[in-house]
């Protein structure tokens, strides 16, 4: 076959393929309205974006905690039977890789305070998830941060103050460095 015929053949195949190329936009689904997005977008970012209006106090949080949380997490947040919430030591105690039995809790392991609000609101209490009001979640968050010695008893938690709480474990966090290959194990 002469060269020009090959080229023409390839050109024809390319044209045909182009006809069958999938569109970038199928037009399936329906537009999401601003209202329904606002109702569904509950995630809180570490900079506080997504936090709702409202506020909560340590004192109110202590009352809610005793009524709705203590049966699973212990009277002071250390007794269990389920996850220990109040750290028995500080983030700068003996490194976890040398103390595998060391308990990981909010005060010594969690890198962002906003996560407490986000998680409590979406998943707690375990037997009634989604039942707490935003103010109740702010109060519980305040109480848990206070019990972990991260804020004092008079600090009010709201969309402004919560992202500013300093979490001492954050400085230890590094992003995954494993890459496979035949180099040293990571």
């Amino acid at each position: 076959m002469p060269y020009w015929a090959c080229v023409a053949g390839i050109a024809m195949i390319s044209c045909e393929r182009r006809v069958n190329t999938a569109p970038t936009h199928f037009g399936y689904g329906r537009p999401a309205t601003k209202q329904e997005i606002a109702a569904k977008a509950i995630a809180i970012r570490p900079d506080g974006k997504g936090l709702p209006a409202g506020s909560g106090t340590v004192q109110h949080g202590a009352v809610i905690y005793a009524g709705k949380c203590a049966s699973c997490h212990g009277v002071t947040g250390t007794e269990g039977p389920f996850n220990v919430l109040v750290a028995p030591d500080t983030a700068d105690a003996v490194p976890f890789d040398r103390a595998p039995q060391r308990i990981k809790a909010i005060g010594n392991y969690w890198p962002y305070a906003t996560t407490v609000f986000d998680y409590v609101r979406r998943a707690m209490p375990f037997n009634a998830p989604g039942s707490l009001s935003d103010n109740e979640v702010y109060s519980l968050t305040a109480y848990l941060l206070y019990a972990n010695k991260l804020i004092d008893s008079s600090t009010v938690m709201n969309a402004k103050t919560l992202p500013g709480v300093i979490m001492p474990a954050r400085k230890y966090y590094v992003t995954d460095n494993r890459n496979g290959g035949d180099g040293p194990y990571e």
Partner: protein, 405 residues
């Protein structure tokens, strides 16, 4: 033979030891009746007629091992590379939700041109893709504490299915993902409203939204009616019961990527976003509680890597002193359980057998000691050590515990 078996097939009577057959009652209706296994001559009794659902043989009882938080696949009872859907491992954080496929919705919003709500029917209209890959929990490791544990106990939190759905890249194009978006949040509609932040690059690469598993709708335990599928990444990121995806310019730092699914490593550091599952293998036969007989033994197992294809599996039958290549069973697929086999003659002496996987990046599955040297002893996540089985002189096969230090 299968024809004959089909015609005279027995109906599975749950976990009961008695087989079940269909007989005509005095009213002419077909009813089930128990038949004692031992007394039955299958050539002298017509078996049940064709039914609407197949069953396992009443002689087979593969079971997951369930705890409060997970149930593990019985790797030692399986053949080939597909995990039967009802034996796929389960790990969820607040139970299995019941979701009506007719009212199911997936909302995609954030840094996109066209925030969109998709029904299940919408998702099924897109060009479909099927692929086989494993899903493994990054907590798929049991601290080596005793001899009497099975492959299921050691690493039963890995399973493999053929998944069918739509490429997430297709959906990304559909909604017009902002080129500046770097992460997306995936959210489930279980009672934990499970969320993980995922780099957008994985979405463009090989992520899928899947609605079918092994030829049928996904099982509720695996995310019915639709889940995210991130091949090769820790199972927790393949969010089940997917209800929302939010495109963003940073991670959300959810509980499951900060206080959980992170691992303390050397020098007090805490490793985060450790998505990829490192290469691993395990001998599933012979393994505890097998009683081995002298002579020829086909050593069998599976190997897999979250970084690509398995390129080799090596076997040692002398406690790691020397290694020989096992045969890999085709198909050998990207990020997929791969079967290996190795024919060996056991002379009856005490020894240890073990396997190590090698993947296409050149990574060789490490020993537990090598992992501890690299990371310390602060984590139970992402541990993929070589597993050794000790064969005792009498043929007893047990796990060889190792020191966790």
């Amino acid at each position: 033979m299968s024809q004959k078996m089909t015609r005279r097939r027995l109906l599975l009577g749950g976990a009961a030891t008695a087989a079940v057959a269909m007989v005509k009652s005095s009213f002419g209706k077909m009813v089930q009746t128990g038949i004692p296994e031992a007394a039955m001559d299958p050539t002298r009794q017509v078996g049940p007629l064709p039914g609407v659902l197949g069953t396992r043989s009443p002689f087979e009882h593969p079971q997951r091992k369930a705890s409060l938080t997970s149930s593990q696949t019985p790797l030692q009872d399986l053949y080939g590379i597909i995990t039967p859907s009802d034996l796929h491992f389960e790990r969820h954080h607040a139970g299995v939700p019941a979701i009506d496929p007719n009212t199911y919705e997936l909302t995609i919003h954030g840094m996109v041109d066209r925030p969109t709500v998709f029904s299940l029917a919408d998702l099924k209209r897109f060009p479909a893709v099927s692929r086989i890959c494993f899903i493994e929990c990054s907590g798929n490791f049991r601290k080596p504490d005793k001899e009497t544990i099975t492959p299921q106990d050691i690493c039963g939190l890995t399973s493999q299915s053929e998944w069918t759905g739509v490429m997430l890249s297709t959906i990304f194009r559909e909604v017009g993902v902002d080129p500046k978006a770097t992460w997306f949040l995936a959210e489930g509609s279980d009672a934990a409203v499970m969320t993980r932040s995922i780099p957008v690059s994985k979405g463009w690469d090989d992520a899928m939204i899947v609605y079918a598993q092994n030829g049928e709708a996904i099982r509720p335990q695996q995310g019915y009616p639709a889940r995210l599928l991130l091949p090769g990444w820790e199972g927790n990121t393949s969010i089940k019961w997917l209800r929302r995806i939010e495109l963003s310019d940073g991670p959300f730092m959810t509980r499951e990527e900060t206080s959980k699914y992170t691992e303390p490593i050397k020098d007090g550091k805490i490793r985060q976003f450790s998505f990829t599952m490192d290469a691993r293998s395990i001998i599933t036969y012979p393994a505890y509680p097998v009683q081995l007989q002298k002579g020829w033994v086909e050593i069998r197992g599976i190997a897999w890597s979250g970084r690509g294809k398995i390129t080799g599996v090596e076997i040692s039958t002398n406690a790691g002193k020397s290694w020989q290549a096992a045969r890999l069973q085709e198909p050998v697929m990207d990020k997929a359980h791969t079967c290996f086999r190795y024919l060996w003659q056991w002379d009856g002496d005490t020894t240890e057998i073990m396997s190590r996987a090698i993947d296409e990046t050149g990574y060789i599955q490490p020993s537990l000691k090598e992992l501890i040297t690299a990371r310390g002893i602060g984590t139970g996540y992402h541990l993929n050590p070589v597993t050794a089985w000790l064969i005792k002189r009498g043929g007893e096969v047990v796990y060889r515990p190792e020191k966790w230090k």
